[in-house]
């Protein structure tokens, strides 16, 4: 169990997810706030990667937390809370977004920037600009993937989950997870290596039809 240092310097054990769920079930509203603090970044980022739009990600995240709030009392601990929240988020995004592709974000210029990244103080402004440009490019490529591949790749490479965890979230077999991740990466490679998303080329590039 992790320990958290308090103001008076005494280390107290950090509540486990199940502790928080129990407290919530018994009416402790503070427990839900702690769950929010613990999982807000995870939920928001998954919504953002699946929708491709920061404003929509914000709306989706709100709705996801309302769903969590409504249904948390029914959480029985059959999976970890993290897996359960991922599943709630994913299902909600699927039902809200349907087969809609994420909106492609502008690839140039910080003017339209509405996403607040978690800042790394070690980076200088030039490095940050390069990282932002690269980030937009990769995000645009990811947004082009069919939903099933995008989900699997996001959970693996951005959320750093194991195949087993992903299988539990998606409720598919591990073989399916392996296949979706590989095919997603393969497509991303094709798009990124072709350079078709580079700003000077994207202006000329015709919209591509979905392949799946």
């Amino acid at each position: 169990m992790m320990k958290v240092a308090t103001a008076d310097g005494v280390a107290v054990p950090e509540a486990t997810d199940l502790d928080l769920v129990d407290r919530y079930k018994y009416g402790d509203e503070q427990a839900f706030e702690e769950i929010y603090q613990r999982y807000a970044t995870m939920v928001y980022n998954l919504c953002f990667r699946l929708s491709g739009n920061p404003d929509e990600a914000s709306d989706l995240s709100q709705e996801v937390f309302v769903r969590i709030f409504r249904h948390l009392a029914k959480f029985r601990g059959g999976s970890t809370l993290k897996t359960w929240i991922y599943r709630v988020t994913l299902n909600h995004c699927r039902s809200r977004l349907g087969r809609k592709r994420p909106e492609p974000q502008p690839l140039t210029g910080p003017e339209g920037e509405t996403v607040r990244e978690i800042e790394d103080p070690r980076r200088n402004p030039e490095d940050r600009a390069v990282a932002e440009s690269e980030g937009r490019l990769v995000a645009a490529a990811l947004a082009r993937l069919p939903g099933r591949f995008r989900e699997a790749v996001t959970l693996r490479d951005l959320e750093d989950l194991s195949y087993q965890e992903i299988a539990a979230i998606l409720r598919v077999r591990i073989g399916t997870v392996r296949s979706r991740i590989a095919r997603g990466r393969e497509r991303l490679r094709d798009v990124l290596e072709s350079g078709e998303l580079l700003p000077e080329r994207s202006l000329r590039a015709a919209p591509r039809e979905e392949m799946v």
């Binding site: 807000a40 970044t41 990600a57 195949y163 590989a182």
Partner: protein, 225 residues
């Protein structure tokens, strides 16, 4: 392994999600196959670029928006919680108790459904008060047929008409005495357990003065006039 390694297997190899034996096969193949090494390298670059994507911080207003939405929702309470608040007004820690309370509540619901109407009917039926007169009449009507038996302390009396006879006091009584006579009062004093049995116009035949084993004594008949 002669054929090239599939992209799916190389991808799983990158993620260390292959069983050891399969991973070793891939490694042996990669030593000799530049095509698969290039494939692996390009996949690895993609993964590296994906992993380089920054995590976005949730918008600062999100927490407040969620709090407002949640406040409007009001938390739906579970059946157990509703029961708990009714029973105790505070949370109960034991899951076992929760399960027990739930089972008992369900049993109570079933009981009320099954017997509730019957209970209500019983409550509405006035309690029948059995008066001594009614009881005596009842005895008169049924005593011969069913016989009456009374166990007082360790003594047993049988009812015969208006007369009680003690078990073991067989035969004709040696003495018939009135309950109000000095000797009758003395007998009743020695046998106080008879008082509940004797009403107006009744008699009892008993063995008076017997030792605790029931031996000895004399058979007497006491009349209440």
């Amino acid at each position: 392994m002669s054929a090239h390694v599939t992209t799916e297997r190389l991808s799983a190899y990158l993620d260390r999600e292959l069983p050891d034996r399969r991973a070793q096969e891939v490694e042996r193949h990669l030593e000799d196959c530049s095509h698969c090494r290039r494939n692996l390298d390009s996949l690895s670059r993609v993964v590296h670029r994906l992993q380089g994507l920054e995590r976005a911080a949730p918008p600062p207003l999100l927490a407040g928006d969620v709090a407002r939405r949640v406040a409007l929702e009001g938390r739906p309470r579970t059946l157990v919680e509703r029961l708990e608040s009714r029973l105790t007004g505070k949370p109960l820690q034991s899951q076992i108790f929760n399960s027990f309370a739930l089972v008992m509540a369900l049993a109570g619901i079933v009981y009320v459904f099954a017997f509730g109407l019957d209970l209500i009917e019983r409550k509405r039926t006035p309690v029948r008060v059995v008066t001594p007169e009614a009881s005596a009449e009842f005895f008169r009507q049924h005593e011969i047929a069913i016989g009456l038996r009374s166990e007082l302390e360790d003594r047993v009396f049988y009812r015969e008409g208006e007369m009680w006879r003690e078990q073991g006091a067989a035969g004709e009584p040696e003495l018939e005495i009135a309950a109000s006579s000095p000797e009758g009062l003395a007998v009743l004093e020695r046998n106080q357990e008879l008082a509940p049995l004797l009403g107006q116009g009744q008699a009892v035949i008993l063995r008076d003065g017997a030792d605790p084993s029931g031996a000895g004594g004399r058979v007497v008949k006491i009349l209440v006039e």
